[in-house]
């Protein structure tokens, strides 16, 4: 079954491309995908009707006991057939309906994405999979409702639908997690109803899951998003917001009825909300005059009916719900598509402006009559069978039979009125009338409604043929087998009388009241009976709150952000540091006199930095600090760090001097109070950090890591300089990321200085004759040392980073003593090219590792005889280091040369 999902998803991926080549045939070609899924499923029809579901399990996260489990039982199969069958028709329909839309290819993709998610919802046997697909249907619905992205109405409707259904999705997720916890399994097919119903968390679980189902299936009071969703193109309304997606909530109720149902809470809550929705939807529907809104509210009503029936939960009610669900999908899908045809051909959906269209579009009118007859419950259509069962179930509803039956009768009469409003009014009633008179729609548009209407008729005439399928659906939703005897004629029963009465009442009401004309004034008030106002208040309230909060938290003052972060850190650190106080005042490393002097120098210089008002003075002090830090590295055995530090220190001072030259003198902009406050916070912060470091020292870190590198550096990676081996071999992927960061920073500097192009200075800023005289020797020395550092880096102090810095220093000196253009000429290669080549080399060294039989960046070595040197080990880590060398050199020179040019 995973293959169905994957192939539909693949269809979504290629749809836009396919549309470029196939144009108007795309819809028909794509329709083969869902039809193929139906064909595939036909293998299992008989077994499923006989009560044997087809299961498929893919390993997903077996350690967590979670598998990708699919379950094709009667309920899932019926939904699969509806989703794929109607989906195929809608794809074909859309190819005509949206023919002129330049984004049609994308529309197909969205539709197929939705189809994938919806099929996923009904096939999933696992709660997490169901949830993921459930959310995907919300997202694809959002994309489709907001299809006309230019209009604010579409965008608002899409957002409302997403927030309501995704809000319900959150509840559903919590509910499903609870359900999985209390039932001890994540698979629906393994859940035991008795275990769940007996748990003390049953009620919260039920409420949360109902929250998800009710929002999705537009139950009162969340039903307001569905009429808004009619902003979507009509094929979407027909498919998502009538035939399939809004039934996901009903599906979930049916799926979980065996597990969660059969309790008083379930009966009261689900029946009550379903019944209210049924009545409210039907009443509002007859006051509308827009075809799509009439149909939308009647859909709300039917969703309420289905919910109510599942709430009642008797054998009969479940059977009725299942049959009604199928009947409704067929006739409502057809009616929506017909509304689309009318809109498309006449330019309006307002039934008060339409009349007598049957003459011009006989096929469409015939389909409309059949579908509407099914809706009204006229024999011999499927809707009649469904209504009979509905009445029967309502009548026998335990305890409240008469109330339920009364409500069912009222809603059905109103649906009869709606049927006349959507079929009789535009197609008959008087001479042809429309803003512009239509032609019969093209076949691609008629195919859908005609097929669906014919299916309503065929199933109605052939009740024995669908008996076993509906039985299989009901079995899944009831938990045990439900015998069923569908037939058109049961003899003269009270229920038959009620059906006839319903039809008569509907016709009488329609012709005496002409509701679409008379009730339009009440429309607004009725439509407000929901949570829309509450939703709006919550929505805009959230935005207002966010604005106020942003003004407070993001006040635009950098230092207040820094202060907030630092003070929060201080508060969080206080507790742990005080607790660990007995550990930290222990000297672990012996005192070294030179280091003590250096420490003093650093502290004094750092303090002086905060007090000095000369920019160059501060730059010099920073140089002093850098050199002191470097000497500390020397004392404590970090030669590579010391060399790197001194090179970077020199280059930093060069860049600072080049840039600072252009910046204004320091200003003293704060008041005395602010100075005192900042000094206080800084001293406390510094003290806290000092304590933290002492604390860290007292923890004995696991030496395993060091030991690994110490033991394996030469044995496994053929390098004696452990630091370098870590950089170019063991942790080469990290280094690759780091040199990429360097490149990005250098490009940033280059871009900042280049655009908008400032005036480039031609002459050199600092001309020192001594420097010029010494330069050739100095440069040669630096370059030789840099190459030497690169080559020996794997075994002794050195490496790509140090070598690159040394080489860059050589050319930086040249740029300072002459000018940038002559340096560029001397270099021959632009620093950007150097960086690019370096990165390429780094990646090539990684790929070479794969080609030579290892993994990416795994070191590979070979022994080569070089004259004069004897046997030499050459390997990809050395190549990697050459790349690092080039990147570092290019990075520094890009920065220095750009800065010097300003």
């Amino acid at each position: 079954m995973a293959w169905i999902l994957l192939s539909l998803l693949a269809g979504a991926a290629i749809a836009p491309l396919l549309h470029r080549g196939m144009r108007s045939h795309t819809g028909s070609i794509l329709a083969l995908l869902p039809l193929g899924a139906i064909g595939w499923s036909s293998r299992y029809w008989e077994a499923i009707a006989a009560g044997e579901p087809y299961r498929e399990t893919w390993r997903w996260a077996p350690a967590l006991g979670v598998n990708a489990a699919f379950n094709l039982d009667g309920l899932a199969l019926a939904f699969l057939l509806l989703i794929c069958g109607i989906g195929a028709l809608v794809l074909i329909y859309a190819s005509e309906y949206l023919r002129k839309d330049p984004r049609l290819g994308l529309f197909y993709a969205y539709l197929l994405l939705f189809m994938t998610s919806m099929v996923g919802v009904v096939l999933a046997d696992n709660v997490f999979m169901l949830f993921v697909f459930w959310e995907l249907t919300s997202i694809s619905s959002f994309l489709l409702i907001g299809w006309n992205r230019e209009t604010a109405e579409s965008r608002d409707a899409a957002r409302t639908a997403l927030i309501v259904t995704a809000g319900g999705g959150m509840m559903l997720m919590a509910g499903l997690v609870l359900l999985a916890l209390i039932s001890g399994t994540t698979d629906f097919s393994q859940m035991s109803g008795d275990l769940v119903r007996g748990n003390s968390l049953y009620v919260p679980t039920l409420v949360l899951i109902l929250g998800g189902a009710f929002t999705k299936s537009a139950q009162f009071p969340f039903h307001f998003w569905l009429p808004g969703a009619m902003a979507a193109p009509t094929p979407v309304s027909a498919y998502l917001h009538s035939a399939t997606m809004v039934k996901a909530g009903v599906y979930l109720l049916a799926r979980l009825h065996p597990t969660l149902g059969f309790t008083d809470t379930w009966f009261v809550v689900v029946t009550l909300f379903g019944g209210l929705t049924m009545l409210l939807g039907a009443v509002i529907a007859v006051t509308q005059s827009d075809l799509k809104r009439i149909l939308a509210y009647s859909t709300v009503s039917v969703l309420g009916t289905l919910t109510m029936l599942i709430g009642v939960g008797t054998e009969e009610a479940i059977s009725a719900a299942m049959l009604y669900l199928v009947a409704h999908s067929l006739y409502k899908g057809a009616l929506f598509l017909i509304a689309g045809i009318v809109d498309h051909e006449t330019g309006t959906r307002d039934i008060t402006q339409l009349g007598g269209l049957a003459k011009h579009m006989p096929l469409t009118a015939a389909a409309a009559v059949l579908a509407a007859a099914s809706m009204a419950g006229v024999p011999p259509l499927l809707g009649f069978l469904a209504k009979e069962l509905f009445y029967e179930a309502a009548w026998h509803a335990p305890g409240v039979g008469m109330v339920v039956l009364g409500a069912a009768f009222l809603a059905s009469v109103l649906l009869g009125v709606v049927a006349l409003m959507v079929a009789c009014r535009p197609f008959f009633s008087g001479p042809p009338r429309a803003p512009h008179l239509p032609h019969e729609a093209p076949w691609r548009m008629v195919l859908g409604p005609a097929t669906l209407a014919a299916a309503s008729l065929y199933c109605g005439l052939n009740p024995a043929g669908i008996n076993s399928s509906i039985e299989a659906m009901a079995r899944a939703a009831f938990g045990e087998s439900v015998p069923m005897h569908l037939a058109l004629w049961h003899g003269f029963t009270p229920i038959l009388g009620l059906s006839v009465l319903t039809l008569i009442a509907g016709v009488v009401l329609y012709f005496t009241l002409r509701p679409e004309l008379r009730f339009s004034a009440h429309r607004g008030r009725l439509e407000q009976v929901n949570f829309q106002a509450l939703y709006d208040r919550a929505f805009w309230g959230t935005l207002d709150f966010a604005e106020v909060l942003t003004k407070i938290v993001q006040n635009g003052y950098l230092r207040s952000y820094i202060l907030i972060v630092v003070i929060t850190l201080l508060v969080l650190l206080t507790g742990p540091i005080i607790q660990g106080q007995d550990l930290f005042l222990q000297e672990v490393a012996e005192i070294h006199p030179a280091a003590v002097i250096l420490a003093g120098v650093i502290v004094v210089a750092a303090t002086a930095v905060t007090l000095l008002d000369s920019r160059l003075g501060v730059a010099a002090l920073l140089g002093v600090i850098g050199i002191a830090v470097m000497l500390l590295y020397v004392i404590f055995g970090a030669l590579d760090l010391a060399v790197t530090q001194i090179m970077v220190e020199t280059l930093t001072v060069i860049v600072l001097v080049l840039v600072l030259y252009h910046l204004p003198r320091f200003g003293f902009l704060s008041t005395k109070w602010v100075y005192l406050r900042d000094a206080g916070v800084s001293i406390i912060f510094g003290g806290m950090i000092a304590l933290l470091v002492m604390e860290a020292f007292s923890l004995h870190s696991d030496p395993e890591l060091q030991q690994f590198y110490a033991a394996n550096s030469y044995v496994k990676a053929l390098g004696r300089n452990v630091v370098n081996v870590i950089l170019v071999d063991f942790r080469a992927t990290d280094t690759m990321g780091e040199v990429t960061v360097l490149t990005v920073a250098a490009i940033g500097v280059y871009a900042l200085l280049r655009f908008p192009a400032g005036q480039k200075r031609e002459g050199a800023a600092m001309v020192s004759l001594v420097l010029r005289a010494a330069l050739p020797v100095l440069m040669l020395l630096l370059l030789v040392v840099s190459l030497y550092a690169l080559l020996r880096g794997h075994h002794q102090s050195g490496g790509g980073f140090i070598g690159g810095l040394l080489a860059a220093a050589a050319f930086s000196l040249h740029a300072l003593s002459y000018d940038v253009p002559s340096t560029r000429r001397l270099m021959q290669v632009s620093p950007h090219v150097l960086m690019g080549a370096g990165l390429t080399t780094v990646v090539s060294a990684g790929v070479l590792g794969i080609l030579l039989g290892g993994s990416f960046l795994e070191g590979r070595w070979m022994e080569v005889y070089l004259p004069g040197l004897g046997d030499v080990h050459l390997g990809t880590p050395l190549l990697f280091d050459v790349g690092v060398y080039a990147v570092v050199m290019g990075m520094v020179l890009t920065i220095v040369l750009s800065a010097a040019e300003e």
Binding site: H592, F636, V655, A690, G758
Partner: protein, 115 residues
């Protein structure tokens, strides 16, 4: 020695923070540099101090014998030093660009995000 160096790190962080809290953007940059030194020393000190024993495997041996300075810390800091150079340079140039565009180095004068 570790207590003394801890105080040095604290001093670097404190002075850096003070510089960052100033309104003059150039001082912000200097604060950043001080924090860079502080962070590198923090890693260095926290991983343990060993005198005069660089992590180089001598000729004739195949493994590194204690005592030796922690090579992991050094590998981390080595790249950190080079990256902090790139970051400092980027920040310096960014500040320069802001100053050129807005005409002030007082952060409080930067009211608009685009100009």
């Amino acid at each position: 020695m570790n207590i003394i160096l801890s105080l040095v790190i604290g001093g670097l962080y404190g002075a850096g923070l003070f510089m960052m809290l100033r309104r003059s953007i150039t001082k912000l940059l200097f604060g950043l540099i001080l924090w860079g030194h502080g962070s590198n020393l923090l890693i260095f000190v926290a991983c343990g101090l060993v005198r005069g024993a660089p992590p180089l495997i001598p000729e004739g041996q195949t493994t590194l014998e204690p005592p030796y300075a922690d090579p992991v810390a050094q590998a981390l800091i080595l790249t950190a030093i080079v990256i902090s150079f790139a970051v400092v340079a980027f920040t310096a140039v960014l500040l320069y660009r802001i100053y050129r565009t807005i005409g002030t180095d007082d952060i409080d004068q930067l009211r608009a995000s685009d100009s």
